[in-house]
């Protein structure tokens, strides 16, 4: 069972980032994933987390395509793979303003493959390259031009589809949001807030959920109960069961985003795992 922690560090003080990384490692999680949104540069933050830990796998989930040239993403991936052998995973994703997403993504990945880096040969082992892929064409591209996929905001039904599209040899690292406290009112509110953010603002997530059979009614007003329950596991037992469900559906690794987090959340989560 390979389980990691997924979170945003934007706004967190650097000291807190280092402490969290050390705690995640100490608790025995396999990886720490973080997103790149408005805050720190993803590869720079990965370097500082790698330096602050000694065994933990550190993964960008994801480094945005629009933040750097493909050759730069490849040069950063190799630099971290070289400095921290076997400990860095390059998750890549995001949008290409003004371009058709799949061809643009294909071009970006080709740019990484063709990067002329004569002074920086690929390190051994070569860091995994994963794509934030949801739909069938993005998953096919992840299978073709990457080592696998890092789907975010998906139920286990999607994981089964993703495994089928990727084939057996590719790496599938799935993000899952959980709330450990089952206090129904507060949990429902935190879960709905999380779901609302994506169903309201992210057309690619809306499209993905429709492909999975959710309707306009499910997507309206911050998400139906059915949708919220499908995307956020609430309560300790539900969280453990949902992680297992992704693994059973074909995930190699599940990275858990704990909502309504407290200082004890990661320890509680660790205690839930076998």
């Amino acid at each position: 069972m390979s389980v990691g922690i997924w979170r945003f560090f934007d706004g967190a003080p650097i000291g807190a980032v280092r402490e969290t990384a050390a705690e995640v490692e100490e608790l025995g999680f396999d990886a720490l994933w973080f997103g790149e949104y408005a805050g720190r540069d993803a590869f720079t933050q990965a370097a500082l987390i790698l330096a602050a830990t000694s065994r933990l796998t550190v993964a960008t989930g994801i480094a945005r395509f629009d933040r750097r040239a493909p050759i730069t993403a490849e040069a950063a991936t190799r630099a971290l793979g070289e400095a921290y052998p076997g400990r860095f995973v390059a998750g890549l994703g995001g949008h290409f303003p003004g371009a058709r997403p799949i061809p643009a993504m294909r071009e970006y990945l080709a740019g990484m493959d063709e990067a002329e880096l004569p002074a920086l040969p690929p390190p051994s082992p070569r860091p995994r390259r994963l794509i934030a892929a949801l739909g069938p064409r993005a998953l096919a591209l992840a299978a073709e031009r990457a080592d696998g996929a890092h789907p975010y905001f998906v139920p286990p039904e999607h994981t089964a589809v993703a495994r089928e599209r990727l084939g057996p040899g590719k790496y599938l690292a799935v993000e899952q949001a959980v709330i450990l406290d089952a206090s129904p009112e507060a949990a429902r509110e935190a879960a709905r807030e999380h779901v609302d953010l994506y169903v309201r603002q992210a057309p690619h997530h809306q499209a993905n959920l429709r492909r999975l059979g959710f309707t306009d009614a499910d997507l309206a007003d911050g998400g139906s109960d059915r949708l919220v329950d499908a995307l956020v596991a609430t309560g300790e037992q539900a969280a453990a069961a949902r992680i297992q469900a992704h693994l059973d559906a074909g995930a190699d690794h599940v990275c858990v985003q704990v909502l309504a987090r407290t200082a004890k959340s990661y320890r509680r989560l660790a205690d839930l795992l076998p």
Partner: protein, 299 residues
């Protein structure tokens, strides 16, 4: 303290500038070298990013964390590698994680580098737009810890940009006569951090080194260097000779004491902090020469 006085105090007079691609060694060797140079009294260690080597923010994230107590500077982060907002975020991330220990050198690179990315090469316009992009990102979410940014500047327009939209200049591969020229344009309240080639040896050794640099600049059509040398009064004959005057101004050569004396002159002429690059053929010998020089040059 202002960023300027704070940076000057941290940098002191002398630092080291290490070659990156193609001489860049494995990470553990680079970490050990950086640690050694810091121990020898070099107050900063710089290295750069050409297309073909490590991505500089990721690499510096590692180096800053693994080598304490020395300032690290990028010489340079290449404009063609990432948008301005990403450079701003990278610099802010490093400065926040390692307050006072990071200087961002930004460079427009060369025409052949721009061509690799399929873009036009209009250095001053492109740099101005790039700095505006950085500033816009910083205005959206300000860096929690301020960090200085200096531009790889040779000619007057890039030096003016260094004065008006940055914290100073980091000229590369310039003769000593460039320092008073640059200080004149920058004025007193900006950082001037030139990279300077040094050579333990004779004028004839230095002449051979200059001949190689000139050939490289011609091969890559690095017009900024060639035009810059002429702007400072060196003729084609000086450059192609290369003449004694050009050799003496481009490379500080001699024994350690002679080199130290010429560094004093450079500091008196307006440099805040001089970065030494030995003329050497391997990374290991580069570091060994810096070690040999250290007792005479660091202060």
């Amino acid at each position: 303290m202002t960023l300027l006085t704070d940076t000057r105090a941290r940098l002191g007079a002398i630092g080291a500038w290490l070659p990156s691609a193609p001489l860049q060694p494995p990470p553990d060797v680079e970490r050990a070298a950086t640690r050694r140079l810091a121990g020898l009294g070099y107050r900063s260690v710089w290295s750069g990013e050409g297309p073909g080597g490590r991505e500089v923010f990721a690499a510096f994230g590692d180096l800053l964390a693994t080598v304490p107590d020395v300032v690290l500077g990028t010489g340079i982060a290449n404009v063609w590698s990432r948008p301005g907002r990403t450079a701003e975020k990278g610099g802010a991330t490093l400065a926040h994680a390692h307050p006072g220990r990071f200087v961002l050198g930004v460079g427009i690179g060369h025409a052949f580098q721009a061509a690799k990315y399929g873009e036009d090469y209009r250095p001053v316009d492109r740099m101005r737009a790039y700095l505006a992009e950085m500033d816009a990102a910083a205005a959206e979410s300000p860096a929690p810890v301020a960090f200085p940014r200096v531009l790889a500047a040779v000619g007057p327009k890039m030096l003016e940009l260094s004065r008006d939209h940055a914290d100073g200049a980091h000229p590369f591969a310039q003769p000593v006569s460039h320092t008073p020229y640059a200080r004149e344009i920058l004025g007193p309240d900006k950082l001037l951090i030139p990279q300077q080639t040094v050579l333990l040896g004779s004028r004839e050794d230095a002449r051979a080194s200059v001949r190689r640099s000139v050939a490289l600049s011609r091969a890559h059509h690095v017009k900024a260097y060639l035009a810059g040398w002429k702007r400072l009064g060196y003729t084609e004959a000086d450059i192609d000779g290369p003449s004694d005057r050009f050799v003496d101004d481009l490379v500080l050569w001699g024994d350690a004491g002679t080199i130290a004396k010429r560094l004093d002159e450079l500091l008196d002429a307006g440099a805040d902090h001089v970065l030494l690059t030995p003329s050497a053929t391997s990374f290991e010998s580069t570091v060994d020469i810096l070690a040999e020089l250290a007792p005479a040059v660091v202060r």
